[in-house]
Symmetry: C2
Subunit: 121 residues, 2 copies
DNA sequence: TAACATGGTTTCCTCTGGGTAACCGTGCCC
DNA sequence: GGGCACGGTTACCCAGAGGAAACCATGTTA
C-alpha cells in the first residue's frame, strides 16, 4: 500500500510530527502514561529533571496532536489528569522500546564509546 | 529483572543515549540504514533537508555509541559506507515504527489539531 | 587548465529551545 | 491574615544547535 506522505521528504507534514515524537521529554511522558493516567505534578516528580515550563509545553503539543487527553476534576485544588488516547496508545510498544533501550544496552554503548575514543585519541 | 539504570533519573547515563536516539535526524538515518549500507552522499540525498554538517555530526555520534559502523573503500574518489551494527539493528523495529508512524496516522493527527484549535480559538 | 565527484571540516551567524524564577487564582487549614 | 498545594503562564536571558557557505585533498575527465 502506498501512502500520501513520505517522512523522507523535506516539507512533508509528517516531519513535524516526527520532530514532536523524536524528543526525549515527549517519549518519557508517553512512556509514563502507558500504565495509567497521571497528574501534572506527578509527572513532574517522576520524570526527574523536566522543568514545569517544558512539561506544560510538551503536554499541550501532544494533546493538540491527539496523542493524549487532558481531564480536569473540580476538586480543590483542581486536579488535572493526563491519559493516552487510542491514537497515542498505538505508539506504546515503540515508545517503551526506545525509551528503555538504553537501560538494557548501556554497557554495550559504554564499551563502544571507550573503544571509539581509544582508536582516535 | 532489575537494571542498574533508570531513564527516569536525571543523571542516569541512559538519558544521554535517549537524547541521541530521540532525534529526528538520527531516527531517519537509522531507518534508512536498515535496508542496506549507504554512502554519505546517498544519505544526504535521501534524507531531504539534512545539512552536510548535521549529517556528519550525527553519524559520528551514532558510530561512537556503537550503533553503526563506518567503512572506507580506497576508490577514487574515496567511498565511505555506513551500516548498522548488530547493536544498532536491535532498534530496527522501534525506529521504523516511530519514523513512519506519522505517515500512517497523519490524517488523524491533522483532525485532532483542527479540533483542538477550534475548541480554544 | 578547469571542472567535477566524494566525504568531509570549519567558520560565521542567527535564532530559538529551555532553564530560572516570579507570578496567578482558588480554596483549604491554622 | 498567612501559608500551602495544584496547575499552570509569563518574562528574562543565555548557550548552543543548526543552516549556509567556503574550504580541503584526491584523482579523473574534458
Amino acid at each position: 500500500m502506498e501512502y500520501a506522505y513520505d517522512v523522507y521528504e523535506n516539507r512533508c507534514p509528517t516531519r513535524l510530527v516526527l520532530d514532536r515524537l523524536a524528543d526525549k521529554w515527549a517519549l518519557l511522558i508517553l512512556d509514563r502514561l502507558q500504565e495509567e493516567p497521571v497528574r501534572f505534578n506527578q509527572l513532574k516528580r517522576d520524570i526527574k529533571g523536566i522543568s514545569q515550563k517544558v512539561l506544560s509545553q510538551t503536554l499541550k503539543k501532544l494533546e493538540r496532536d491527539g496523542l493524549l487527553s487532558r481531564q480536569v476534576f473540580a476538586t480543590v485544588p483542581v486536579t488535572v489528569e493526563y491519559s493516552l488516547t487510542e491514537l497515542g496508545a498505538t505508539l506504546n510498544e515503540s515508545v517503551s522500546a526506545l525509551a528503555h533501550w538504553a537501560e538494557h544496552n548501556m554497557d554495550a554503548v559504554l564499551a563502544a564509546q571507550t573503544e571509539y575514543d581509544s582508536r582516535e585519541q
